[in-house]
Symmetry: C2
Subunit: 269 residues, 2 copies
């Protein structure tokens, strides 16, 4: 029997979901994590078969998935690029910003930078699901090596996801708008909500609850992302601020037709 | 058999949900709406037993629920206050802003201003559900008449909801933050998303999708609310803008510790 060995570095919500799905696919799944409790839990929920050290993981995996936050991902890539040749025919990361990853991985063989467009506000392997990626887009930055890119697409499809080829620059610009700006807005809004009184708590409708849910996402993860992608986030944030400024002014002036125009609505009949 | 007759003016998502629940409770439900197609659909989905004219509704209802947008709600209250005494022992509205309603209803007997904290981004009776209010807060502004307020609480509880007494001023201040500001933010963000290119479309994660969902809510409803509550919305919006400005500056400066402080996070270890 010739099973693929999938190695996962970092058994959080994403890494754990990769593991659950790979095991469902019949792969052997190894996991490594700097936190022993995370590994224990990953075994308990069936996200990995066996826990090993990061060094063993690199030596034993056919497919190596680096599923840590951005900064540790960059450090791992650097370490792997300077170690002995690895057996893995495919190494991917899953970080939310791609240009620094692509730059760091310039000398790492068989590496493809990727980003699954599926997430959960909950972190840790207890938030992992074997269908987390089902029918979701999973972006990858083509390496230029067609055989390698085909392996990357095959792995993405084996996760139930839809491979989406995109340049690192286009990816980082797009997610600044679709992911990083909403996170910043939700975080800022969350501080306003927390400063409110009891009636604010009681009168939270579904929308505020959702923004609060987003705001509760780990700042540990977002810190690296915001820093790495600030050049793309900042202009979008300025555009949003400018829209909000115009809205505040229209509200103050009672200019409701102006609001409609701001929101891209047809004028009032 | 002595059934309560519940009259619903405006068989949209909220009015329809009231109707579905009242019929489940065994009440007779009458509906009136300026749109004949809405009434037909309300009958088809079982949200009302019979459709009548607005005048008949006022003459025939034991409990009268005004479930229209804010502006028509104010007009209806004015009309009812100047008509012959009504048989209804309870008249409520469900609009999202309470001070103008309370002021308009000063001379309407048996009226209690209310606001169910449950909503749906979809409008129309096809979005109605008989459990829309289940275990949700349903705010009401105590009228000062204890017997009347008891009837209002009883009706709210019959909808499966939790009655929450609050002054009109406190309500309007709270929902400005919990409901109206998020709507404004989502609408402004929606215009940025729509201006994006194809990769933006493909890389929308769950958060952007949720904001887009919120942005898609009917501006027809929001227009009246934003106008009526602008004095409460504008200061919250300014606070949010100021937070976002500081965030943009911290991003530009690479000041990630500053971001953590802005978001109310513990400092980086």
């Amino acid at each position: 029997l010739n099973r693929t060995t999938v190695g996962i570095l970092g058994v959080g919500a994403i890494g754990g979901s990769v593991g659950l799905r790979a095991r469902r696919n019949g792969d052997r799944v190894l996991g490594a994590d700097s936190q022993a409790t995370a590994l224990k839990e990953a075994r308990a929920v069936g996200a990995i078969d066996t826990s090993v050290s990061a060094e063993e993981l690199a030596r034993l995996s056919d497919v190596l998935v680096i599923a840590t936050y951005l900064e540790p991902t960059l450090k791992t890539i650097e370490r792997l690029a300077h170690s002995a040749p690895l057996p893995a025919s495919l190494i991917i990361d899953v970080a939310s910003v791609k240009l620094p990853v692509v730059q760091a991985a310039a000398e790492l063989a068989n590496f493809v930078a990727t980003h699954p467009m599926a997430g959960t506000e909950r972190s840790g392997v207890e938030a992992a699901r074997d269908d987390l990626f089902e029918r979701r887009a999973w972006a990858y930055v083509p390496s230029g090596d067609e055989a390698l890119d085909r392996r990357a697409r095959g792995f993405i499809e084996s996760m139930g996801a839809i491979p989406l080829a995109i340049s690192a620059e286009d990816h980082d610009r797009a997610v600044a708008l679709t992911s990083h700006v909403p996170q910043v807005v939700a975080s800022c809004y969350g501080t306003l909500l927390r400063a409110g009184d009891d009636s604010v708590e009681e009168l939270c409708g579904p929308v505020a609850a959702e923004l609060r849910r987003i705001a509760a996402m780990s700042f540990g993860m977002w810190r690296d992302i915001l820093r790495a992608n600030s050049a793309n986030i900042e202009p979008h944030l300025r555009s949003l601020i400018s829209k909000l400024e115009s809205t505040a002014e229209a509200l103050l002036a009672g200019d409701i037709d102006g609001l409609a125009t701001l929101f891209g609505e047809p004028r009032r009949q």
